[in-house]
Protein backbone atom coordinates (compact mmCIF):
# COMPACT_ATOMS: atom_id res chain seq x y z
CA UNK A 1 0.00 0.00 0.00
CA UNK A 2 1.55 3.20 -1.13
CA UNK A 3 1.02 5.95 1.41
CA UNK A 4 1.40 8.96 -0.82
CA UNK A 5 1.62 12.38 0.74
CA UNK A 6 -1.87 13.82 0.76
CA UNK A 7 -2.62 15.89 -2.31
CA UNK A 8 -4.99 18.15 -0.42
CA UNK A 9 -4.24 21.81 -1.03
CA UNK A 10 -2.12 23.45 1.63
CA UNK A 11 -4.91 25.16 3.51
CA UNK A 12 -3.62 25.36 7.06
CA UNK A 13 -6.08 23.35 9.11
CA UNK A 14 -6.63 20.68 6.47
CA UNK A 15 -2.97 19.74 6.18
CA UNK A 16 -2.45 20.06 9.92
CA UNK A 17 -5.06 17.41 10.65
CA UNK A 18 -3.93 15.03 7.94
CA UNK A 19 -6.17 11.97 7.54
CA UNK A 20 -5.03 9.11 9.78
CA UNK A 21 -3.11 6.54 7.76
CA UNK A 22 0.22 5.11 8.92
CA UNK A 23 -0.10 3.36 12.26
CA UNK A 24 -3.31 1.44 11.72
CA UNK A 25 -2.10 0.04 8.41
CA UNK A 26 1.02 -1.24 10.14
CA UNK A 27 -1.02 -3.09 12.73
CA UNK A 28 -3.30 -4.66 10.09
CA UNK A 29 -0.27 -5.74 8.10
CA UNK A 30 1.15 -7.51 11.12
CA UNK A 31 -2.11 -9.39 11.68
CA UNK A 32 -2.23 -10.38 8.02
CA UNK A 33 1.38 -11.51 8.19
CA UNK A 34 0.58 -13.72 11.19
CA UNK A 35 -2.54 -15.04 9.44
CA UNK A 36 -0.48 -15.97 6.38
CA UNK A 37 2.05 -17.94 8.40
CA UNK A 38 -0.61 -19.68 10.47
CA UNK A 39 -2.50 -20.77 7.37
CA UNK A 40 0.75 -21.83 5.70
CA UNK A 41 1.62 -23.96 8.74
CA UNK A 42 -1.86 -25.54 8.67
CA UNK A 43 -1.49 -26.31 4.97
CA UNK A 44 1.94 -27.88 5.47
CA UNK A 45 1.10 -29.82 8.64
CA UNK A 46 -0.89 -32.75 7.20
CA UNK A 47 1.46 -33.28 4.30
CA UNK A 48 4.54 -32.97 6.51
CA UNK A 49 3.12 -35.56 8.89
CA UNK A 50 2.38 -37.88 6.00
CA UNK A 51 5.95 -37.46 4.78
CA UNK A 52 7.18 -38.68 8.16
CA UNK A 53 5.87 -42.10 7.27
CA UNK A 54 8.34 -42.34 4.43
CA UNK A 55 11.09 -42.67 7.07
CA UNK A 56 9.06 -44.41 9.76
CA UNK A 57 10.13 -47.97 10.59
CA UNK A 58 6.54 -49.03 11.32
CA UNK A 59 3.92 -49.48 8.61
CA UNK A 60 0.90 -48.16 10.49
CA UNK A 61 -0.06 -44.53 10.32
CA UNK A 62 0.05 -43.90 14.06
CA UNK A 63 2.07 -41.95 16.57
CA UNK A 64 4.54 -42.21 18.18
CA UNK A 65 6.93 -43.31 15.43
CA UNK A 66 8.85 -46.53 16.09
CA UNK A 67 12.18 -45.55 14.56
CA UNK A 68 13.68 -44.18 11.38
CA UNK A 69 14.57 -46.02 8.18
CA UNK A 70 15.39 -45.41 4.53
CA UNK A 71 14.19 -48.88 3.50
CA UNK A 72 11.02 -47.53 1.90
CA UNK A 73 13.04 -45.55 -0.60
CA UNK A 74 15.01 -48.67 -1.51
CA UNK A 75 11.72 -50.48 -1.88
CA UNK A 76 10.52 -47.90 -4.41
CA UNK A 77 13.33 -48.96 -6.72
CA UNK A 78 12.54 -52.65 -6.23
CA UNK A 79 8.84 -52.26 -7.06
CA UNK A 80 8.72 -52.44 -10.86
CA UNK A 81 4.93 -51.97 -11.07
CA UNK A 82 5.25 -48.67 -9.22
CA UNK A 83 8.05 -47.39 -11.44
CA UNK A 84 6.16 -48.54 -14.50
CA UNK A 85 3.04 -46.64 -13.48
CA UNK A 86 5.13 -43.50 -12.91
CA UNK A 87 6.61 -44.00 -16.39
CA UNK A 88 3.10 -44.33 -17.82
CA UNK A 89 2.07 -41.08 -16.15
CA UNK A 90 5.16 -39.37 -17.50
CA UNK A 91 4.30 -40.53 -21.02
CA UNK A 92 0.65 -39.47 -20.80
CA UNK A 93 1.52 -36.11 -19.21
CA UNK A 94 4.23 -35.32 -21.77
CA UNK A 95 2.10 -36.28 -24.76
CA UNK A 96 -1.12 -34.65 -23.61
CA UNK A 97 0.55 -31.42 -22.48
CA UNK A 98 2.31 -30.98 -25.84
CA UNK A 99 -0.94 -31.48 -27.78
CA UNK A 100 -2.90 -29.26 -25.37
CA UNK A 101 -0.29 -26.50 -25.67
CA UNK A 102 -0.39 -26.52 -29.47
CA UNK A 103 -4.20 -26.59 -29.66
CA UNK A 104 -4.66 -24.07 -26.85
CA UNK A 105 -2.17 -21.58 -28.24
CA UNK A 106 -4.05 -21.80 -31.55
CA UNK A 107 -7.34 -21.02 -29.81
CA UNK A 108 -5.83 -18.02 -28.02
CA UNK A 109 -4.29 -16.61 -31.23
CA UNK A 110 -7.56 -17.16 -33.11
CA UNK A 111 -9.56 -15.44 -30.41
CA UNK A 112 -7.31 -12.41 -30.01
CA UNK A 113 -6.17 -11.87 -33.60
CA UNK A 114 -9.16 -12.83 -35.73
CA UNK A 115 -12.71 -11.58 -35.86
CA UNK A 116 -15.15 -14.34 -36.74
CA UNK A 117 -18.70 -15.07 -35.72
CA UNK A 118 -17.99 -18.18 -33.68
CA UNK A 119 -15.01 -16.87 -31.71
CA UNK A 120 -16.90 -16.77 -28.42
CA UNK A 121 -18.29 -20.25 -29.14
CA UNK A 122 -14.75 -21.53 -29.74
CA UNK A 123 -13.50 -19.96 -26.51
CA UNK A 124 -16.49 -21.29 -24.58
CA UNK A 125 -16.02 -24.84 -25.87
CA UNK A 126 -12.29 -24.72 -25.10
CA UNK A 127 -12.84 -23.84 -21.45
CA UNK A 128 -15.96 -26.01 -21.08
CA UNK A 129 -13.93 -28.97 -19.72
CA UNK A 130 -13.27 -26.87 -16.60
CA UNK A 131 -17.01 -26.62 -15.98
CA UNK A 132 -18.23 -30.09 -16.94
CA UNK A 133 -17.88 -32.27 -13.82
CA UNK A 134 -15.04 -34.75 -14.31
CA UNK A 135 -17.25 -37.70 -13.48
CA UNK A 136 -19.62 -36.64 -16.29
CA UNK A 137 -16.78 -36.11 -18.76
CA UNK A 138 -15.33 -39.51 -17.83
CA UNK A 139 -18.68 -41.24 -18.32
CA UNK A 140 -19.25 -39.51 -21.65
CA UNK A 141 -15.81 -40.53 -22.96
CA UNK A 142 -16.46 -44.07 -21.77
CA UNK A 143 -19.66 -44.10 -23.83
CA UNK A 144 -17.80 -42.75 -26.88
CA UNK A 145 -14.98 -45.28 -26.68
CA UNK A 146 -17.33 -48.19 -26.11
CA UNK A 147 -19.61 -47.17 -29.00
CA UNK A 148 -16.66 -47.16 -31.39
CA UNK A 149 -15.06 -50.27 -29.87
CA UNK A 150 -11.92 -48.48 -28.77
CA UNK A 151 -10.17 -50.34 -25.96
CA UNK A 152 -9.27 -48.35 -22.90
CA UNK A 153 -5.55 -47.62 -22.71
CA UNK A 154 -3.06 -44.89 -21.91
CA UNK A 155 -4.15 -43.28 -25.18
CA UNK A 156 -7.74 -42.88 -24.01
CA UNK A 157 -6.47 -41.33 -20.78
CA UNK A 158 -4.23 -39.05 -22.84
CA UNK A 159 -7.19 -37.81 -24.91
CA UNK A 160 -9.07 -36.93 -21.71
CA UNK A 161 -5.99 -35.14 -20.37
CA UNK A 162 -5.57 -33.04 -23.52
CA UNK A 163 -9.15 -31.92 -22.91
CA UNK A 164 -8.60 -30.83 -19.30
CA UNK A 165 -5.22 -29.29 -20.09
CA UNK A 166 -6.71 -27.19 -22.88
CA UNK A 167 -8.61 -24.65 -20.70
CA UNK A 168 -5.48 -23.91 -18.66
CA UNK A 169 -3.39 -23.38 -21.80
CA UNK A 170 -6.06 -21.18 -23.40
CA UNK A 171 -6.41 -18.98 -20.32
CA UNK A 172 -2.64 -18.58 -19.84
CA UNK A 173 -2.03 -17.83 -23.53
CA UNK A 174 -4.98 -15.46 -23.68
CA UNK A 175 -3.53 -13.48 -20.78
CA UNK A 176 -0.19 -13.28 -22.62
CA UNK A 177 -1.59 -12.36 -26.03
CA UNK A 178 -3.99 -9.70 -24.82
CA UNK A 179 -1.00 -7.64 -23.73
CA UNK A 180 0.82 -8.23 -27.01
CA UNK A 181 0.60 -5.47 -29.61
CA UNK A 182 -0.77 -6.62 -32.99
CA UNK A 183 1.17 -3.84 -34.69
CA UNK A 184 4.39 -5.82 -34.25
CA UNK A 185 3.09 -8.48 -36.65
CA UNK A 186 1.77 -5.84 -38.99
CA UNK A 187 5.20 -4.20 -39.04
CA UNK A 188 6.76 -7.57 -39.94
CA UNK A 189 4.23 -7.98 -42.75
CA UNK A 190 4.83 -4.46 -44.01
CA UNK A 191 8.47 -5.51 -44.27
CA UNK A 192 7.50 -8.40 -46.52
CA UNK A 193 6.82 -11.31 -44.17
CA UNK A 194 3.85 -13.56 -44.97
CA UNK A 195 1.37 -13.97 -42.11
CA UNK A 196 2.65 -17.42 -41.04
CA UNK A 197 6.21 -16.11 -41.19
CA UNK A 198 5.26 -13.13 -39.03
CA UNK A 199 3.67 -15.51 -36.53
CA UNK A 200 6.71 -17.77 -36.51
CA UNK A 201 9.41 -15.11 -36.45
CA UNK A 202 7.80 -12.37 -34.34
CA UNK A 203 4.92 -13.70 -32.27
CA UNK A 204 6.22 -17.18 -31.44
CA UNK A 205 9.51 -16.07 -29.81
CA UNK A 206 7.61 -13.51 -27.74
CA UNK A 207 5.02 -15.98 -26.46
CA UNK A 208 7.34 -19.00 -26.12
CA UNK A 209 7.92 -18.54 -22.34
CA UNK A 210 4.16 -18.38 -21.77
CA UNK A 211 3.76 -21.54 -23.88
CA UNK A 212 6.31 -23.31 -21.70
CA UNK A 213 4.50 -22.17 -18.56
CA UNK A 214 1.18 -23.32 -20.05
CA UNK A 215 2.69 -26.65 -21.07
CA UNK A 216 4.11 -27.23 -17.60
CA UNK A 217 0.72 -26.46 -16.07
CA UNK A 218 -0.98 -28.94 -18.40
CA UNK A 219 1.76 -31.46 -17.58
CA UNK A 220 1.25 -31.24 -13.82
CA UNK A 221 -2.54 -31.34 -14.18
CA UNK A 222 -2.24 -34.53 -16.22
CA UNK A 223 0.41 -36.18 -14.05
CA UNK A 224 -1.75 -35.91 -10.93
CA UNK A 225 -5.14 -36.50 -12.55
CA UNK A 226 -7.14 -39.35 -11.07
CA UNK A 227 -10.90 -38.84 -11.51
CA UNK A 228 -10.86 -39.26 -15.30
CA UNK A 229 -8.00 -41.75 -15.38
CA UNK A 230 -9.80 -44.18 -13.06
CA UNK A 231 -12.60 -44.50 -15.65
CA UNK A 232 -10.40 -44.59 -18.72
CA UNK A 233 -7.26 -46.64 -17.98
CA UNK A 234 -6.88 -50.05 -19.47
CA UNK A 235 -4.50 -52.65 -18.10
CA UNK A 236 -1.64 -50.16 -17.73
CA UNK A 237 -2.34 -47.86 -14.77
CA UNK A 238 -1.11 -44.28 -14.42
CA UNK A 239 0.61 -43.44 -11.14
CA UNK A 240 -2.49 -42.01 -9.36
CA UNK A 241 -4.58 -45.03 -10.39
CA UNK A 242 -1.86 -47.42 -9.18
CA UNK A 243 -1.55 -45.41 -5.97
CA UNK A 244 -5.31 -45.59 -5.38
CA UNK A 245 -5.18 -49.37 -5.73
CA UNK A 246 -2.36 -49.56 -3.18
CA UNK A 247 -3.91 -47.24 -0.57
CA UNK A 248 -6.00 -50.12 0.73
CA UNK A 249 -2.89 -51.98 1.86
CA UNK A 250 -1.21 -50.41 4.87
CA UNK A 251 1.96 -52.39 4.20
CA UNK A 252 2.69 -50.64 0.89
CA UNK A 253 1.60 -47.16 1.98
CA UNK A 254 5.07 -46.06 3.21
CA UNK A 255 6.52 -47.08 -0.17
CA UNK A 256 3.91 -44.90 -1.91
CA UNK A 257 4.72 -41.96 0.34
CA UNK A 258 8.44 -42.45 -0.32
CA UNK A 259 7.67 -42.32 -4.03
CA UNK A 260 5.69 -39.11 -3.49
CA UNK A 261 8.65 -37.57 -1.66
CA UNK A 262 10.92 -38.50 -4.56
CA UNK A 263 8.46 -36.98 -7.07
CA UNK A 264 8.25 -33.80 -5.01
CA UNK A 265 12.05 -33.56 -4.93
CA UNK A 266 12.13 -34.09 -8.70
CA UNK A 267 9.56 -31.32 -9.19
CA UNK A 268 11.58 -28.96 -7.03
CA UNK A 269 14.79 -29.79 -8.90
CA UNK A 270 13.05 -29.27 -12.24
CA UNK A 271 11.72 -25.88 -11.15
CA UNK A 272 15.14 -24.76 -9.91
CA UNK A 273 16.79 -25.86 -13.16
CA UNK A 274 14.09 -24.08 -15.18
CA UNK A 275 14.60 -20.91 -13.16
CA UNK A 276 18.40 -21.10 -13.64
CA UNK A 277 17.96 -21.57 -17.38
CA UNK A 278 15.55 -18.65 -17.51
CA UNK A 279 17.97 -16.37 -15.64
CA UNK A 280 21.01 -17.47 -17.66
CA UNK A 281 19.39 -16.31 -20.90
Amino acid sequence: MSVRPGNAPAMGPLTAAAPPRGSHFGRTSRWLWAYYWLLLALLFLPIALLMLFAVNANTTLAFPLRGLTLDWFAKVLSTPALLRSAGNSLLVAAGSSIVATLLGTGVAILFVRFRFRARWLLLGLSVLPLIVPFVVLAGALLVLFRAFDIDRSLLTVGVAHVMIGLPFVVLIMLARLIGFDAQVEEAAMDLGATYPAALRLVVLPAIAPAMIAAGLTAFTVSFDEFALALFLVGREPTFPVYLFGQLRFTTTLPVMIAMAVLLMAATLALLIVAERVRRAR
Binding site: L39, L102, F134, V143, M163, E186, F239, P240
Partner: protein
Protein backbone atom coordinates in the same frame (compact mmCIF):
# COMPACT_ATOMS: atom_id res chain seq x y z
CA UNK B 1 -17.85 -22.32 -38.01
CA UNK B 2 -18.17 -19.96 -40.97
CA UNK B 3 -15.96 -16.94 -41.01
CA UNK B 4 -17.12 -14.08 -43.13
CA UNK B 5 -14.22 -13.14 -45.35
CA UNK B 6 -14.48 -9.41 -44.88
CA UNK B 7 -14.45 -9.59 -41.10
CA UNK B 8 -11.68 -12.17 -41.21
CA UNK B 9 -9.23 -10.09 -43.15
CA UNK B 10 -9.83 -6.91 -41.28
CA UNK B 11 -6.94 -6.20 -38.95
CA UNK B 12 -7.96 -5.22 -35.46
CA UNK B 13 -6.25 -1.88 -35.52
CA UNK B 14 -8.16 -1.02 -38.69
CA UNK B 15 -4.98 -0.12 -40.53
CA UNK B 16 -4.38 -0.68 -44.24
CA UNK B 17 -3.63 -4.33 -45.06
CA UNK B 18 -0.43 -5.14 -46.92
CA UNK B 19 -1.36 -6.15 -50.50
CA UNK B 20 0.10 -9.67 -50.27
CA UNK B 21 -2.72 -10.81 -48.03
CA UNK B 22 -4.92 -13.62 -49.32
CA UNK B 23 -2.21 -15.35 -51.32
CA UNK B 24 -0.76 -18.70 -50.23
CA UNK B 25 0.40 -18.44 -46.64
CA UNK B 26 -1.87 -15.51 -45.94
CA UNK B 27 -4.01 -14.88 -42.92
CA UNK B 28 -6.84 -17.03 -44.22
CA UNK B 29 -4.73 -20.17 -44.60
CA UNK B 30 -3.25 -19.72 -41.14
CA UNK B 31 -6.74 -19.21 -39.74
CA UNK B 32 -8.00 -22.56 -41.00
CA UNK B 33 -4.77 -24.36 -40.14
CA UNK B 34 -5.17 -23.30 -36.51
CA UNK B 35 -8.95 -23.67 -36.36
CA UNK B 36 -9.58 -27.09 -37.89
CA UNK B 37 -7.49 -29.29 -35.55
CA UNK B 38 -8.95 -27.81 -32.37
CA UNK B 39 -12.52 -27.76 -33.71
CA UNK B 40 -12.10 -31.38 -34.79
CA UNK B 41 -10.74 -32.37 -31.41
CA UNK B 42 -13.48 -30.60 -29.45
CA UNK B 43 -16.21 -31.92 -31.74
CA UNK B 44 -15.08 -35.54 -31.50
CA UNK B 45 -13.97 -35.75 -27.87
CA UNK B 46 -16.14 -33.18 -26.11
CA UNK B 47 -19.37 -32.42 -27.96
CA UNK B 48 -19.97 -35.86 -29.48
CA UNK B 49 -19.48 -37.80 -26.20
CA UNK B 50 -21.82 -35.47 -24.31
CA UNK B 51 -24.45 -35.78 -27.05
CA UNK B 52 -24.05 -39.56 -27.08
CA UNK B 53 -24.40 -39.63 -23.33
CA UNK B 54 -27.61 -37.61 -23.52
CA UNK B 55 -28.86 -40.04 -26.16
CA UNK B 56 -27.88 -43.06 -24.07
CA UNK B 57 -29.95 -41.72 -21.18
CA UNK B 58 -33.06 -42.44 -23.28
CA UNK B 59 -32.11 -46.07 -23.79
CA UNK B 60 -33.55 -48.86 -21.68
CA UNK B 61 -30.36 -50.84 -21.12
CA UNK B 62 -26.87 -51.41 -22.45
CA UNK B 63 -27.60 -54.57 -24.47
CA UNK B 64 -26.63 -54.52 -28.15
CA UNK B 65 -24.28 -52.24 -30.09
CA UNK B 66 -24.43 -48.62 -28.96
CA UNK B 67 -24.52 -47.24 -32.48
CA UNK B 68 -27.68 -49.05 -33.53
CA UNK B 69 -30.91 -47.09 -33.19
CA UNK B 70 -33.24 -47.82 -30.32
CA UNK B 71 -36.73 -46.79 -29.29
CA UNK B 72 -36.15 -43.82 -27.00
CA UNK B 73 -37.72 -43.99 -23.57
CA UNK B 74 -37.96 -41.54 -20.71
CA UNK B 75 -38.13 -44.35 -18.18
CA UNK B 76 -34.98 -43.32 -16.32
CA UNK B 77 -36.14 -39.73 -16.00
CA UNK B 78 -39.50 -40.97 -14.71
CA UNK B 79 -37.84 -43.19 -12.12
CA UNK B 80 -35.70 -40.21 -11.10
CA UNK B 81 -38.85 -38.22 -10.43
CA UNK B 82 -40.33 -41.15 -8.52
CA UNK B 83 -37.26 -41.83 -6.37
CA UNK B 84 -36.46 -38.59 -4.57
CA UNK B 85 -33.17 -39.82 -3.04
CA UNK B 86 -31.15 -38.94 -6.15
CA UNK B 87 -32.30 -35.35 -6.43
CA UNK B 88 -32.05 -34.97 -2.65
CA UNK B 89 -28.45 -36.14 -2.85
CA UNK B 90 -27.79 -33.63 -5.63
CA UNK B 91 -29.16 -30.87 -3.40
CA UNK B 92 -27.06 -32.12 -0.48
CA UNK B 93 -23.96 -32.13 -2.69
CA UNK B 94 -24.74 -28.59 -3.82
CA UNK B 95 -25.14 -27.64 -0.15
CA UNK B 96 -21.78 -29.16 0.77
CA UNK B 97 -20.18 -27.42 -2.21
CA UNK B 98 -21.73 -24.07 -1.26
CA UNK B 99 -20.51 -24.42 2.33
CA UNK B 100 -17.02 -25.45 1.22
CA UNK B 101 -16.88 -22.62 -1.33
CA UNK B 102 -18.07 -20.00 1.16
CA UNK B 103 -15.64 -21.12 3.89
CA UNK B 104 -12.76 -21.32 1.44
CA UNK B 105 -13.46 -17.86 0.04
CA UNK B 106 -13.72 -16.30 3.50
CA UNK B 107 -10.47 -17.94 4.64
CA UNK B 108 -8.71 -17.03 1.40
CA UNK B 109 -9.71 -13.35 1.42
CA UNK B 110 -7.26 -12.11 4.10
CA UNK B 111 -4.60 -14.24 2.47
CA UNK B 112 -5.28 -12.61 -0.89
CA UNK B 113 -5.39 -9.15 0.69
CA UNK B 114 -2.01 -9.75 2.26
CA UNK B 115 -0.41 -11.20 -0.88
CA UNK B 116 -2.05 -8.79 -3.28
CA UNK B 117 -1.66 -5.50 -1.42
CA UNK B 118 0.64 -5.78 1.59
CA UNK B 119 3.37 -8.35 0.94
CA UNK B 120 5.21 -6.16 -1.57
CA UNK B 121 8.09 -7.72 -3.47
CA UNK B 122 7.97 -10.91 -1.41
CA UNK B 123 4.45 -11.66 -2.64
CA UNK B 124 5.53 -13.95 -5.51
CA UNK B 125 7.75 -16.09 -3.27
CA UNK B 126 5.11 -16.25 -0.53
CA UNK B 127 2.50 -17.35 -3.06
CA UNK B 128 4.74 -20.11 -4.41
CA UNK B 129 5.40 -21.26 -0.84
CA UNK B 130 1.64 -21.58 -0.37
CA UNK B 131 1.42 -23.86 -3.40
CA UNK B 132 4.32 -26.15 -2.41
CA UNK B 133 2.17 -28.73 -0.55
CA UNK B 134 0.31 -29.16 -3.82
CA UNK B 135 3.24 -30.76 -5.56
CA UNK B 136 2.23 -33.88 -3.71
CA UNK B 137 -0.30 -36.20 -5.26
CA UNK B 138 -3.92 -35.19 -4.65
CA UNK B 139 -4.70 -38.66 -3.35
CA UNK B 140 -1.93 -38.42 -0.76
CA UNK B 141 -3.10 -34.99 0.35
CA UNK B 142 -6.53 -36.48 1.00
CA UNK B 143 -4.81 -39.45 2.64
CA UNK B 144 -3.03 -36.99 4.91
CA UNK B 145 -6.40 -35.93 6.30
CA UNK B 146 -7.17 -39.54 7.16
CA UNK B 147 -4.02 -39.31 9.23
CA UNK B 148 -5.26 -36.12 10.89
CA UNK B 149 -8.85 -37.19 11.56
CA UNK B 150 -8.63 -40.97 12.13
CA UNK B 151 -9.18 -42.67 15.47
CA UNK B 152 -5.41 -43.01 15.92
CA UNK B 153 -4.86 -39.74 14.11
CA UNK B 154 -3.16 -36.54 15.11
CA UNK B 155 -6.19 -34.67 16.45
CA UNK B 156 -7.31 -37.59 18.60
CA UNK B 157 -3.74 -38.18 19.83
CA UNK B 158 -3.40 -34.54 20.88
CA UNK B 159 -6.81 -34.47 22.57
CA UNK B 160 -6.12 -37.76 24.39
CA UNK B 161 -2.69 -36.68 25.59
CA UNK B 162 -3.95 -33.37 26.89
CA UNK B 163 -6.80 -35.19 28.61
CA UNK B 164 -9.50 -33.23 26.81
CA UNK B 165 -11.27 -36.48 25.90
CA UNK B 166 -11.30 -39.93 27.50
CA UNK B 167 -11.50 -42.06 24.35
CA UNK B 168 -10.83 -41.30 20.67
CA UNK B 169 -13.53 -39.51 18.69
CA UNK B 170 -14.71 -41.60 15.78
CA UNK B 171 -16.99 -38.88 14.45
CA UNK B 172 -14.14 -37.00 12.75
CA UNK B 173 -13.62 -39.31 9.77
CA UNK B 174 -15.88 -40.97 7.19
CA UNK B 175 -18.63 -38.37 7.06
CA UNK B 176 -19.52 -35.07 5.41
CA UNK B 177 -17.46 -33.14 7.94
CA UNK B 178 -14.27 -34.94 6.84
CA UNK B 179 -15.14 -34.34 3.17
CA UNK B 180 -15.74 -30.63 3.77
CA UNK B 181 -12.57 -30.07 5.81
CA UNK B 182 -10.45 -31.86 3.22
CA UNK B 183 -11.95 -29.90 0.33
CA UNK B 184 -11.48 -26.53 2.05
CA UNK B 185 -7.85 -27.50 2.67
CA UNK B 186 -7.35 -28.42 -0.96
CA UNK B 187 -8.92 -25.25 -2.37
CA UNK B 188 -7.69 -22.34 -0.18
CA UNK B 189 -4.59 -21.36 -2.21
CA UNK B 190 -6.49 -21.52 -5.50
CA UNK B 191 -9.40 -19.46 -4.20
CA UNK B 192 -6.89 -16.74 -3.28
CA UNK B 193 -5.75 -16.30 -6.91
CA UNK B 194 -8.82 -14.52 -8.43
CA UNK B 195 -9.16 -12.36 -5.30
CA UNK B 196 -5.51 -11.29 -5.61
CA UNK B 197 -6.11 -10.36 -9.25
CA UNK B 198 -9.21 -8.32 -8.36
CA UNK B 199 -7.47 -6.52 -5.48
CA UNK B 200 -4.54 -5.56 -7.67
CA UNK B 201 -6.94 -3.94 -10.12
CA UNK B 202 -8.10 -1.50 -7.44
CA UNK B 203 -6.63 1.89 -8.31
CA UNK B 204 -4.63 3.21 -5.30
CA UNK B 205 -5.73 6.71 -6.28
CA UNK B 206 -9.32 5.78 -5.35
CA UNK B 207 -8.15 4.80 -1.87
CA UNK B 208 -6.15 8.00 -1.60
CA UNK B 209 -9.25 9.92 -2.57
CA UNK B 210 -11.20 8.13 0.17
CA UNK B 211 -8.43 8.91 2.66
CA UNK B 212 -8.42 12.55 1.58
CA UNK B 213 -12.13 12.62 2.36
CA UNK B 214 -11.31 11.43 5.88
CA UNK B 215 -12.44 7.83 5.50
CA UNK B 216 -10.84 5.74 8.23
CA UNK B 217 -8.81 2.74 7.03
CA UNK B 218 -11.71 0.48 8.06
CA UNK B 219 -14.14 2.62 6.09
CA UNK B 220 -11.79 2.66 3.12
CA UNK B 221 -11.78 -1.12 3.16
CA UNK B 222 -15.52 -1.54 3.65
CA UNK B 223 -16.69 1.15 1.22
CA UNK B 224 -13.97 1.01 -1.46
CA UNK B 225 -11.66 -2.02 -1.47
CA UNK B 226 -14.22 -4.72 -0.62
CA UNK B 227 -16.88 -3.68 -3.18
CA UNK B 228 -14.22 -3.31 -5.88
CA UNK B 229 -12.84 -6.79 -5.14
CA UNK B 230 -16.25 -8.49 -5.26
CA UNK B 231 -15.81 -9.83 -8.82
CA UNK B 232 -12.75 -11.71 -7.55
CA UNK B 233 -14.67 -12.99 -4.54
CA UNK B 234 -17.50 -14.25 -6.73
CA UNK B 235 -15.02 -15.85 -9.11
CA UNK B 236 -13.29 -17.58 -6.18
CA UNK B 237 -16.62 -18.88 -4.86
CA UNK B 238 -17.58 -20.46 -8.18
CA UNK B 239 -14.03 -21.67 -8.86
CA UNK B 240 -14.50 -23.87 -5.78
CA UNK B 241 -18.25 -24.50 -6.01
CA UNK B 242 -18.44 -25.85 -9.56
CA UNK B 243 -15.86 -28.65 -9.33
CA UNK B 244 -16.93 -29.53 -5.79
CA UNK B 245 -20.56 -30.32 -6.70
CA UNK B 246 -19.37 -33.08 -9.02
CA UNK B 247 -16.57 -34.28 -6.75
CA UNK B 248 -16.37 -38.04 -6.25
CA UNK B 249 -12.77 -38.81 -5.30
CA UNK B 250 -12.61 -37.08 -1.91
CA UNK B 251 -15.90 -38.58 -0.65
CA UNK B 252 -14.68 -41.97 -1.90
CA UNK B 253 -11.62 -41.68 0.35
CA UNK B 254 -12.73 -39.87 3.50
CA UNK B 255 -16.52 -39.74 3.18
CA UNK B 256 -17.50 -43.28 4.15
CA UNK B 257 -21.14 -44.17 3.55
CA UNK B 258 -22.63 -41.06 5.15
CA UNK B 259 -20.34 -38.71 3.21
CA UNK B 260 -21.40 -39.98 -0.22
CA UNK B 261 -22.02 -37.30 -2.83
CA UNK B 262 -23.94 -37.24 -6.11
CA UNK B 263 -20.76 -37.86 -8.12
CA UNK B 264 -20.23 -41.17 -6.29
CA UNK B 265 -23.65 -42.39 -7.43
CA UNK B 266 -22.78 -41.60 -11.05
CA UNK B 267 -19.45 -43.38 -10.64
CA UNK B 268 -21.23 -46.43 -9.21
CA UNK B 269 -23.63 -46.64 -12.14
CA UNK B 270 -20.74 -46.47 -14.60
CA UNK B 271 -18.51 -48.96 -12.78
CA UNK B 272 -19.95 -51.34 -10.19
CA UNK B 273 -23.61 -51.32 -11.26
CA UNK B 274 -22.75 -51.04 -14.97
CA UNK B 275 -26.09 -49.36 -15.63
CA UNK B 276 -24.75 -46.75 -18.02
CA UNK B 277 -28.13 -45.45 -19.28
CA UNK B 278 -29.19 -44.59 -15.73
CA UNK B 279 -25.76 -43.12 -15.00
CA UNK B 280 -26.05 -41.08 -18.19
CA UNK B 281 -29.42 -39.73 -17.08
CA UNK B 282 -27.95 -38.71 -13.71
CA UNK B 283 -25.01 -37.11 -15.55
CA UNK B 284 -27.30 -35.14 -17.86
CA UNK B 285 -29.17 -33.76 -14.84
CA UNK B 286 -25.92 -32.72 -13.15
CA UNK B 287 -24.48 -31.28 -16.36
CA UNK B 288 -27.55 -29.12 -16.95
CA UNK B 289 -27.53 -27.93 -13.33
CA UNK B 290 -23.80 -27.17 -13.44
CA UNK B 291 -24.04 -25.26 -16.71
CA UNK B 292 -26.92 -23.21 -15.30
CA UNK B 293 -24.81 -22.28 -12.27
CA UNK B 294 -21.80 -21.52 -14.48
CA UNK B 295 -23.87 -19.19 -16.68
CA UNK B 296 -25.14 -17.39 -13.58
CA UNK B 297 -21.55 -17.09 -12.35
CA UNK B 298 -20.32 -15.68 -15.67
CA UNK B 299 -23.14 -13.14 -15.63
CA UNK B 300 -22.18 -12.13 -12.10
CA UNK B 301 -18.48 -11.73 -12.85
CA UNK B 302 -18.98 -10.39 -16.38
CA UNK B 303 -16.11 -12.37 -17.86
CA UNK B 304 -15.96 -10.27 -21.03
CA UNK B 305 -14.37 -7.40 -19.18
CA UNK B 306 -11.36 -9.60 -18.43
CA UNK B 307 -10.93 -10.93 -21.95
CA UNK B 308 -11.82 -8.01 -24.20
CA UNK B 309 -9.20 -5.29 -24.10
Amino acid sequence: MAASGAALDKPRSGRRRPPRDGVVGGRRGTFWAMLLPVVGFLAIFLVLPLVMMAALSTRLDLRGPLLEPWAPTLEHYISLAETPIYLRLLLTSAGIAALVAALTTILAYPLAYFLGLRAGRRAAVLLILLLVPFWTSYLLRVMAWKLMLGEEGVINSVLLTTGAIGEPLSALLYNRFAVSVTLVYVWIPFAALPIIAALQRVDPAVLDAAADLYASPAQQFRRVTLPLSLPGVIAAFFLVFIPTVGEYVTPLMVGGTSGTMYGNIIQDFFTKAANWPFGSMLSVIMLVATLAVAILALRAVDIRRFVEP
